[in-house]
Amino acid sequence: MTIRHLLSATALAALPAGFALAEDLPPCEGCADGLTVVSWGGAYQTSQQKAYSEPYAEMTGTGFTWDESSNEAVAKLRAMNEAGNITWDLVDVEGPDSQRLCDEGLAMEVDLDEMLAAAPDGTPATKDFGDSVINDCFVPQIVFSTTFGYRTDVAAWNGKEPENLCALFDTETFPGKRSLEKRPKKNLEWALLCDGVEKDDLYDVLDTPEGVDRALAKLDTIKDDVIWWSAGAETPQRLADGEVVIGSTYNGRLFSLIVEQKQPVKMLWDWQVFDYDGWIIPADLPEDRLNRVMHFLHFATDTQRLADQAKYISYGPSRASSQPLVSTHAELGIEMAPFMPTNPANQKNYLVNNIEWWADNQDDVEAKFQAWLAR
């Protein structure tokens, strides 16, 4: 698993960041002056602006327009495609969404080796990115994980703290509301793991119709205690309010809750689920806009830029060559490695979403899960 080798390097962390690529940036020929980039908003988008777009704009004078629509990217791209008017140039999406966009021909197929910079030691891009190259349209950016945070000051827990994921289902020892994502993905896997299924058998069990029912039955045991979230900011907010005692969210959000907002919350590194996030280019862009996108991507996905992003948010860069460059937080000056999902100490138990299984079964499972939720 690349994730493991990726981040054994993170532990080494602070090597001097000595790449000056700015002067190497070739001029962009036949390029549009502006770029419309779609992302997730919040701290994540800020990290992208600081690490990618601001230096790029300074060097080239390109005007950036940011749109915070990534969670509706598939619906909107499909609508734009039907209307025949694509207004976006570059879209940040999660792995499964990129799969869907690629399958439907809404995203452009890319040749990473031809398009992107090689690692400083000459390793071609696809090899440098390793497992994070999940389909023909995806330009990887970060590895993130979905994991749990819990409050450390819950009186009803009598001084106990959750040690593993299954505390989620133990409402006797750990009473209180839980916050889970309003989607079947990850929840089903966690439910089965706590229902005694081995990691290696997970998707074999899920592949049977009874498997999904079994997972839902396990979730049924805590259904009344769950508040569901659909935006990544909700769990941290609820944890801060004391509205929930434990909840799943993206590890970067928990990082800012714990480190920047100093809430009495801890992270539970057990069965975190890895996902990839990256760029896709909408299909059929006009040539001048495409040239600009390509020029920007070449810059924004090089080894140094990906490492720079990790100074602002605790997501792991998806290039192996970026790992040694990850160091301390740009403003807080703290060591980032302990908060990285790819840190070996945080990787005792972890899962990687089976993207192919989810692509094949998403429609069925989602319908079943939503009906289960509504009842």
Partner: protein
Amino acid sequence: MTETATAPAGTDTGPVLAADGLPLKRSLRRALRAQKLRALMLIAPLLIFILVTFIAPIADMLFRSVENQIVAETLPRTARAIQDYDPDSGTMPSEAVLAAFTYDLTAASERKLHTRLGTRLNYEYTGVSSLFRKAGRRVDDFGETYRDQFAAVDPAWEEPATWIALMADPDWVAEYRAWTAAGEAAKAARREFTQAQPLFRLRDEVADVLPETASAYAEFARIAQVEDGDDPAAEDPWAPVYLALYRDLLHVGPGAIAQLGPEAEAMLDAAHDAVEGFETVNLADLYLEADKDWGDPGVWGTIKTFSSAYTPGYFLNAVDLQLTPDGVAAQPEDRQIYIMLFERTLFMSLMIMGSCVLLGYPIAYLLSNLPLRTSNLLMILVLLPFWTSLLVRTSAWKVLLQQQGVINDILVWLGIVSNSGRLILINNQTGTIIAMTHILLPFMILPLYSVMKTIPPSYVRAAKSLGATNWTAFWRVYFPQSVPGIGAGCILVFILAIGYYITPELVGGTSGTFISNRIAYHISSSLNWGLAAALGSILLAVVLILYWAYDKLVGIDNVSLG
């Protein structure tokens, strides 16, 4: 106008004439027409605006809820061939249907349409989506056996040039060469080249002699040209094209082959003699190998049932039914949610409307009866939240209602509830009803107020002076006069509530959400736009029916919006 017009005419006989000698009637009509036209011009911007932003989207929504062209467009050959298939036979369709399906699916997966079609059919029959995905990955190999066997007969069968000579219209070949040359010349001269490429055309007789091959090859050539920007004369045809050739040659007579000219005849004759001895593959087995569920007649029955361009399928889904090859049937129990959601939406909208009347009536009464200074202050208190952003108010309710929120804290502090027994006021129906009642309250108070303002206080005084008690005077005299205001407020609040989306989404959890949240989910997450449109159309119809019923019962003329 009439006076000035008739005066100069001066006589009583004949038509009345205007100043310019024309009959007055016509002159008037002309003046009015100009006026009407001017009026129309004045409202034209609004009319066009409404047409474009309101009527057109609604029409489009209604259309989407029945539109189903995707199946016939993506699988045109299958849609025709499968009509004779009987799903009750319990078997897979015939080889002819499977061959048609293979050509269609190959083309669809080249054009990346098959996953979308799979998703579409999955709405109707569980599991189809994953079947289409899996088969789409390998269907371009179906027919590989035949390619090898044709190549063994004559290696020229593997040459793209052979196929172009056999299939393409010579005129097209010439046009295409000219186009390619022009493109390269433009590139060399660094000029822009915008001329459209000539689309592949079949030669005249080939579609009659080798129908399946011609159709499959033409599709291949066009996709190579348009989707990939390649020269068909340089590309190897898909394996299913060889399958088509094999199937055609089994049926074709030697006389027919002669129509294609001597060169083709020689090659085809040799192939024709050989096909009898070819090792055959069973298409059904290939599909079953890809996934055993292809053997399920329900899958093929679904393709057949939904091969028409329009379907009631989405509307049936919207009321927990489904269209099956055997007619309309109920959805499996674990998918039945829409009727329940419609009922919940109606019930909760009525609750919200009721609590708005209960809370709004006394306030409107006070507003219209207190001295001006106090009532103005009250009015500001009503209007201030009305002017505040909806999101701000909803978020404020989150802060107030949550278990660690202001209301629970106060109750615990007062000792009314224990710390462990904090009330659950949010992420359920209670939360939605409280927050939406507050948000919609001004829509009840304002029409009530404007009606009550017009009720002369002297009526109540007169009733009292005639001996009525306070209650009788209110109930028999004041209240009946305020009913039009209640009607207006109720209609406004109810219709707004029934389509509300953002507040239930934020405070409703799973049990307090409306049908509109489900519509939003289908628009932006599941991308089942047809079902979203059907749900929306039903919601629209429900509102119109309720409005009509209200008109019949109360009379819309009795409603006063002030």
